[in-house]
Amino acid sequence: MEREPGPEGARRALGRWLEAVLASRGQANAVFDILAVLQSEDQEEVREAVRTCSRLFGALLERGELFVGQLPSEETVMAGSRGAMRKYQVWMRHRYHSCCNRLGELLAHSSFQVKELALSTLMKFVQLEGTHPLEKPKWEGNYLFPRKLFKVVLGGLLSPEEDHSLLLSQFREHLEYDDIRYHTMQAAADALARVADRDPEVSLTFWNNAFTLLSAVSLPRQGRNLSNFYVPRSGPSDKWKVAHLRVPVFLGGCTLTGRAPQLPLSLYKKVLVITHDAILPHMAQPTLLIDFLSSAYDLGGAVSLLALNGLFVLMHKHNLEYPDFYRKLYGLLDPSIFHVKYRARFFHLADLFLSSSHLPAYLVAAFAKRLARLALTAPPEALLMVLPFICNLLRRHPACRVLVHRPQGPELDADPYDPAEEDPAKSRALESCLWELQALQRHYHPEVSKAASVINQVLSVPEVSIAPLLELTAYELFEQDLNKGPRPVPLEFVPAQGLLGRQDDLCTQHFTLS
C-alpha cells in the first residue's frame, strides 16, 4: 500500500493498516507494512509505529488470535496442511515475536522518547501475556510469567554500551510490583553471570546499569504478605512469601560482590555505601559477605572506611570475630581522614566502636593520642568535631585521664608516644600527654580554642553529643560566624597606608604590586 511521505502521512497510513488488520484476516499482510515502519530512521514515524504495534498486538492478545503453546517454525506450519486458522495464528505469533525483538532493539535507540515508549509497550505486552498466556499451563491455575519477553526487556536495559540511568528510573515504577521485582532479580542475576563469564573485561557502563537497576530494587520487610502483582492472578498466594525473593537478592548481590575486584573503584565505593542497609539485611546468609568486606577493609583508604559499616553489622549481629580489628582501625587514622567525604560516617562508627567501656585503657589512649596528633593538621570544622570526640573518650575511660591530668609526672625531654608504631599497644600513648590539645588552645578560630580549653578544667561527667557536629562543614561554620547577631565592630587603629601595608609587614616583604 502506498502512503504519503512525512510523519503525518505515516500516521494516517498506519491507522488505516491497523484498522484493516483488525477488521479482517484477509488484510493481515498489512502487518508487514507496520513492521517496516518500525525500522524507519525518523523517530516520529518509529514512535507512531510503536504505538500502532501496541494497539494491534494488544488487541490480538486479548482476542486470543495468537498461537498458544510451543511455537513451531513458520515454514513447517505454512507447508503443513493444518487449518487456515491455525496457520494464521502461528504466522501472527511470529510477527508478534519479531515485533518484540524489534522493540527490544529500540531500547538502545538514540532518542529517549522512543526508548521510553518501547519500554512501556514491552511492559504492556508483559502484562497482557501474563493474563493471556501464550504457553499452555501445566495444570489449571498455574501462574505463568512471560519470562522470555521479560528477559528481552532486561537485556535491553542492561546494555554494556549505553548508560541507561534515565530509562532505569522510568523502569523503577514497575519495581513496585512484587512479581516484577522477583523476576527482575532473577533475570538480572542471570544476565550478570552471563556477561561476567563471557569476558573478564566488562565495560563500566554495564556495571553502572546493573548497579542502578539492583539498587533500585527495594525489598519488602519480612512477613509482609505479597499482594501487589503486576500480572493479575487468582488463586492462593501462600507460596509467595518474602522468602522467595531472598534467593535472587543473594544472587544479584553476590554476583556483584563476587566480582568486586573487577569493579571500578567508584562503583566499588557505591556498592559498599549501600551494603549495610540494602544488601546485608536481606541476605539469607550474610556471612557470605565476609570475604568481600574484609578484602575491602584491607584495601586501605576510603574503601576501608566504607567497608567498616558492613563489617560492623556482621560483628554486631552475626558474631563475626575479626582479629586485629582495632589495630586496623587505628591504622586507618591518617591525616587525610579529616578531608575525605565520608568523614561523618567514619567518626560515627568510630564513636560506636570506641563506646564500649570494656576496651583496654592503652587502646583508648592510643586512639586519643593519635587523633590529637592528627588534629594538628585538621581544618577548623573537623577540629570542632574531633576535640569533643577525644574528650568523650577520656570521659568514658577514666583510666585515660592521665593524658590530661598527671600531677606528679616527671618532666620529659620528648614525647614518648611513637606515631609510626602500628600496634596501639606498643605506641606508649599512656605515658604521654595530650600536648597537642594544649597547642590547639592557641588555634585561630575562637570556637576551636574554646573546645580545646576544656581540658584545662576537670572534665564534666556527661558526654558531649557529637552527632550534630559530624556533618558540620566549613561553610556552615562561616555562616554561623557571620550571623552571630549585632555586636560592636572594633576597628583597626593603625591607619591604612596602602594595600600591602607597612614596610615591615610580611606582605610587603614578599609581594609587590607591579
Binding site: 581544618p379 593603625v494 607591579s514
Partner: protein
C-alpha cells in the same frame, strides 16, 4: 516614804525619755498632764513608743478642733445660705494671678466707663502712669538730669529733717540755730518756721530748673554749631554723597575697627600649650590604651559581657560622624622663637593655588587632618593620623597621601587639564554603575580626587541624608576595588590608594562597612561552596577575593579573639587553603599570598594555623622530585603523586644559576602569561623562596607551642630531603639550613598536663539553716514584695482603725453637744416654768390677800 520615793523615781524615769524625744521644742510639760505607761519588764532591743503621753492636752486639742469644724458644721446644718465669690476668675486656676488682675481691672474700668458715659458727657478719662496723670508728664517731658535729681531726692536737707523730726538736731547744728536766733530776734513759732522752709525749698527748686534749662539751651546751641562745622571737617567723603547722608555720618574706619573688635569673639582663655614631651607622652598613653584594649579582645576575656560601645558616645550624638570638640581655629604658637605655621596650612595654600578651593577648605576642619590639635582619644581624626609623631615614616606617608596633589602642582599641563575637567562638587552615587561611570576612564590621580571630593561634599555634618549616602559609597567602592582587581591587567595602584579612602570611611561607619565586607565575603564563600558541591573541589578564586581579604586585615583588628568580620574571613582563608587544589604556577602565587595574609592576621596574636603548615609543606613538596618519602604525609589538597606534584621543580641548571631573589608580583595572581621557560623557572624559584621564608616565620612564631616538634616533624623530614637534593640555588639552601637549625634548637621540655584544681563539691549537711534576725518585731523570711505587701496591709488596718475611732469620737462629741443643747433648753424651760409659777403664785397670793382683805372687810 516608800510611795513618795517610787513616785519620784517614776517621774525621773519618765522625764528623761520624754525630754529626749521632744527635744528642746517642748522642754517642760506640765507634770500633771503627763501620763506614763509603766513597763513591767525591761526588754532589750524593743522600741517603746507609747510609754509617755499627754492625754489631757491631746484631748483638749481634739475638742478644740472639733468645735472649730464639726460643731460649726452641725450648727449650720439647716442653713441654705451660700457665700458666693463672684470676683472674676477667682476659682479659675488656668489664669495666672497677673492676668487675673489685668482682667479685673479691665472689667472694672469698663463698668466704670459704661456707668459714667450714660450721664456724664464731659468728663474724659484721665490716663495715668504710676499714679501720675500722663498729661502732666507730657508737660515737662524734657530730659531730667538724673544724677542730680536722684541725689536730691534721696537725701532730705538738714533743715527739713530738723524741722520735721525735731530733737537731736540742735546738738548737731548749734550754729545754724544760733544764727537764726540772732536774725529773727525773737524765736519764731513753729508754723512760721515751716512756712519759711517751704518757701526756701521752692525757691531752690526753681533755681535748679532754670539752671538746667540754661544748660540744655547751651548744648543745643553747641550741637548746632558742631553740625555746621562738621561738614567742613569731613573733607574725605565726596560732597554729593555727604549731602545724602547728612543725617547719618559715615562710620569711621577706626570706629568700625573698634566695633569689630568689640563684637569679635574674644580670645578665650585656653589651656596651656602643651610641650613636645607632653604631646608625645599623651600620644603614647593613648596608643597604650588602645593596645591594652586590643590585648583584652585578643585574649577573648569578658567577651560576652563586653557589649558596651568601644568609644564614648554622647546621648545627643546623632552618629553622623560630626565631632564637636574639634576646634577649627589654629592656636598661635611659637617654636624656637618663630611663629609655628603648620604644614597643612601650607599644603592648603598649595591646594588653593592648584585650583580646588571652596569645599575642601570648608570641610578640612571637620574631616580633620591636622595632627596637632586633636588630643581627645574619642575624636576619630587622630585615629586617622596618629602614628606620625611616634614613628619615623612620616615622610613616606606624606608622599603617600598627597601624590595626586603633588603631581598636580608639578605638572602645569596636568593641572590645567584636571582643573578644567573635574567639577568641584559631586553628588554621591546612588548605584554602583553611577560610581563606575564617574571613575572609569580617568587617571589614577583624578579617580582619587573624585572619590575624595564625593566624600567631602557629602560629609554627614553637612546634610541629613549624607550618612546613608556615604555608607553606600563604601559598598560601591568595595565593589569597584573588586572590579579593578578582576580587570586584566589588574589596576593595583589605584586600589593601593583607594584603600586609604576605604579606611577613613570605615572609621566613620563601622557597622555598615562591616556589613558590606561581610556581604562580599559571603558571596565569595557561596561561590566556592557551590563549586565544591558540584565538583568536590574548587578553584582558587580570583584576585578580587584575595584583595578583599587583605582589606579586611587593614580595616579591622585581626588579633581579636572573636571579631564579626575577621573570624569569618579566617574561615574563608582556611577554606582556600584546604579545598582548592594547586593546578598552576598562578595558583601557587595566590596560595602563597593567602598564606602570607594568614600569617599577617595572626602576627600579633601568635595563633596556630594547622592549614598553613600543611599548605607550605605541600608547596615545598612540589619543589622536590617525587619519591617515596618517609616521615610525612601530604594532606588535601596536595597529592603525593599526580599531574602537578612537581610543579615547582626546576631542573635547568642555568636558570638556577641566573636566578635572583625577588618578591612576587600580585599581577601574576590574576594572569600569568609567560614568558620564556627561564622566566617561569625564576618565578618558581621565587615562590619556593617565599614559601621557605614564610616557613621560617612560622617556625619562629610557633616555637613556644607545646607540641612544636609534632607539628614540624613532617617539615623537617621534607627539608632534609630538600637539602639532599642540591639542585637549588645557594641562597635557598642556606635558608632551609637556617630553618632546620632553628627547628633543632628548639629544645622543649614536655611538662605533664594537669587540670586546674576545681573547688570540691561540698557534702550535703543536715544542720539546721540559720537565718539572721536583723530586726525584732518584723516578719522575717519572706521576699521583698511580700514584706512590702504586708506592710501596706498593716498600714491600712491601722488607718482604718484610726478612722473608725475618729468617727466614733465625732459622734460622741456631737452627742455631747446635743445633750448639752437639750439640757440647756430644758433648764431654760424649767426656769421659765418656774418664773410663770412664781408669777402665778404671786398673783394668786395677791388675789388671795385681796380676797382676805375683802373678806376681812
Amino acid at each position: 516614804m516608800g510611795k513618795a520615793k517610787a513616785a519620784g523615781a517614776r517621774r525621773k524615769a519618765s522625764g528623761a525619755p520624754s525630754g529626749a524625744r521632744r527635744g528642746p521644742a517642748k522642754a517642760c510639760p506640765n507634770p500633771f498632764e503627763v501620763k506614763v505607761n509603766r513597763q513591767k519588764f525591761q526588754i532589750l532591743g524593743r522600741k517603746t513608743r507609747h510609754d509617755v503621753g499627754l492625754p489631757g492636752v491631746s484631748r483638749a486639742r481634739a475638742i478644740r478642733k472639733r468645735t472649730q469644724t464639726l460643731l460649726k458644721e452641725y450648727k449650720e446644718r439647716d442653713k441654705s445660705n451660700v457665700f458666693r465669690d463672684k470676683r472674676f476668675g477667682e476659682y479659675n486656676s488656668n489664669i495666672s494671678a497677673e492676668e487675673k488682675m489685668m482682667k479685673r481691672f479691665a472689667l472694672e474700668q469698663q463698668r466704670h466707663h459704661e456707668k459714667k458715659s450714660i450721664y456724664n458727657l464731659n468728663e474724659d478719662e484721665e490716663l495715668t502712669h504710676y499714679g501720675q496723670s500722663l498729661a502732666d508728664i507730657e508737660k515737662h517731658n524734657d530730659i531730667v538730669d538724673s544724677d542730680s535729681d536722684v541725689e536730691e531726692r534721696g537725701t532730705l536737707s538738714a533743715e527739713l529733717t530738723a524741722s520735721h523730726f525735731g530733737g537731736g538736731s540742735r546738738l548737731l547744728h548749734p550754729k545754724t540755730f544760733q544764727q537764726e536766733g540772732e536774725e529773727g530776734e525773737q524765736p519764731k513759732s513753729r508754723k512760721e518756721l515751716i512756712e519759711e522752709l517751704i518757701a526756701k525749698s521752692k525757691q531752690e527748686k526753681r533755681e535748679r530748673q532754670a539752671q538746667r534749662e540754661d544748660a540744655l539751651e547751651l548744648t543745643e546751641k553747641l550741637d548746632q554749631d558742631w553740625k555746621e562745622i562738621q561738614t567742613l571737617l569731613s573733607h574725605k567723603t565726596p560732597k554729593s554723597e555727604n549731602r545724602d547722608k547728612k543725617e547719618k555720618p559715615k562710620p569711621d574706619a577706626y570706629d568700625m575697627m573698634v566695633r569689630e573688635l568689640g563684637f569679635e569673639m574674644k580670645a578665650q582663655p585656653s589651656n596651656r600649650m602643651k610641650t613636645e614631651e607632653e604631646l608625645a607622652h599623651e600620644e603614647q598613653e593613648r596608643l597604650r590604651k588602645l593596645e591594652a584594649e586590643r590585648l583584652r579582645r585578643m585574649l577573648g576575656k569578658d567577651e560576652d559581657e563586653n557589649f558596651k560601645k568601644p568609644k564614648h558616645m554622647s546621648a545627643d550624638d546623632l552618629n553622623d560622624g560630626f565631632v564637636l570638640d574639634k576646634d577649627d581655629r589654629r592656636l598661635l604658637s611659637y617654636k624656637d622663637g618663630k611663629m609655628n605655621v603648620e604644614e597643612d596650612v601650607q599644603e592648603e595654600q598649595r591646594q588653593e593655588a592648584s585650583g580646588d578651593k571652596s569645599e575642601e577648605d570648608e570641610s578640612e576642619g571637620s574631616s580633620g587632618e591636622d595632627p596637632e590639635e586633636s588630643d581627645g582619644p574619642e575624636s576619630h581624626s587622630d585615629l586617622a593620623s596618629d602614628v606620625e609623631s611616634e614613628e619615623e615614616n612620616e615622610k613616606p606617608e606624606k608622599e603617600h597621601q598627597s601624590p595626586g596633589k603633588a603631581s598636580i602642582t608639578r605638572g602645569q599641563k596636568a593641572r590645567n587639564a584636571a582643573s578644567t575637567e573635574l567639577p568641584y562638587t559631586f553628588a554621591a552615587p546612588e548605584s554602583y554603575e553611577e560610581l563606575r561611570s564617574l571613575l572609569s576612564g580617568r587617571s589614577m590621580e583624578e579617580q582619587l580626587l573624585v572619590v575624595e571630593r564625593i566624600q567631602k561634599c557629602n560629609h554627614p555634618s553637612l546634610a541629613v541624608g549624607n550618612k546613608a549616602k556615604l555608607e553606600k559609597l563604601f559598598g560601591f567602592l568595595l565593589e569597584y576595588v573588586g572590579d579593578l582587581a578582576t580587570d586584566d591587567p589588574p589596576d593595583l595602584r589605584v586600589i593601593d590608594k583607594l584603600v586609604v579612602q576605604l579606611y577613613s570611611l570605615c572609621q566613620m561607619f563601622p557597622e555598615s562597612a562591616s556589613d558590606s565586607v561581610k556581604f562580599v565575603l559571603r558571596d565569595a564563600m557561596h561561590e566556592m561552596e557551590e563549586m565544591i558541591e558540584n565538583k568536590g573541589r574548587a578553584a582558587l578564586p580570583g584576585l578580587d577575593v584575595l584583595i578583599y581579604l587583605k582589606i579586611v586585615g587593614l580595616l579591622f583588628p585581626t588579633s581579636d579573639f572573636w571579631h564579626p568580620v575577621v573570624t569569618p574571613a579566617l574561615v574563608c582563608m582556611s577554606q582556600l587553603l584546604t579545598k582548592c587544589p594547586v593546578l598552576s604556577l598562578q595558583d601557587v602565587v595566590k596560595g602563597l599570598f593567602v598564606c602570607c595574609l594568614f600569617l599577617e592576621y595572626v602576627s600579633l596574636s601568635q595563633r596556630f594555623i594547622p592549614e598553613l603548615v600543611n599548605y607550605i609543606l605541600g608547596i615545598l613538596y612540589m619543589a622536590t622530585p617525587n619519591k617515596q618519602s618517609q616521615g610525612y604525609a601530604l594532606v588535601h589538597p596536595f597529592r603525593a603523586r599526580g599531574k602537578n606534584s612537581e610543579l615547582l621543580l626546576v631542573s635547568d641548571r642555568e636558570d638556577v644559576a641566573t636566578w635572583q631573589r625577588s618578591s612576587l608580583s600580585l599581577r601574576w595572581a590574576s594572569g600569568l602569561r609567560t614568558q620564556t621557560a627561564t622566566e617561569a623557572n625564576h618565578i618558581r624559584l621565587s615562590c619556593v623562596a617565599v614559601g621557605l621564608s614564610l616557613l621560617k616565620h612560622c617556625v619562629l612564631m610557633y616555637s613556644t607551642l607545646p607540641s612544636f616538634h609534632a607539628i614540624t616533624t613532617p617539615l623537617r623530614a621534607l627539608l632534609t630531603e630538600h637539602l639532599v637534593d642540591c639542585s637549588h640555588p645557594r641562597e635557598l639552601q642556606e635558608l632551609s639550613q637556617s630553618i632546620l637549625t632553628e627547628m633543632e634548637n628548639q629544645k622543649q621540655l614536655h611538662r605533664p598536663l594537669t587540670c586546674e584544681k576545681s573547688k570540691p563539691v561540698p557534702l550535703k549537711l543536715f544542720t539546721p539553716r540559720l537565718v539572721k534576725v536583723l530586726e525584732f518585731g518584723k516578719k522575717q523570711g519572706s521576699s521583698k514584695e511580700e514584706q512590702e505587701r504586708k506592710k501596706l496591709i498593716h498600714k491600712h488596718k491601722r488607718e482604718f482603725k484610726g478612722a473608725v475611732r475618729e468617727i466614733r469620737k465625732d459622734n460622741q462629741f456631737l452627742a455631747r453637744m446635743q445633750l448639752s443643747e437639750i439640757m440647756e433648753r430644758d433648764a431654760e424651760r424649767k426656769r421659765k416654768v418656774r418664773q410663770l409659777f412664781n408669777s402665778l403664785a404671786t398673783q394668786e397670793g395677791e388675789w388671795k390677800a385681796l380676797k382676805r382683805k375683802k373678806f376681812k372687810k
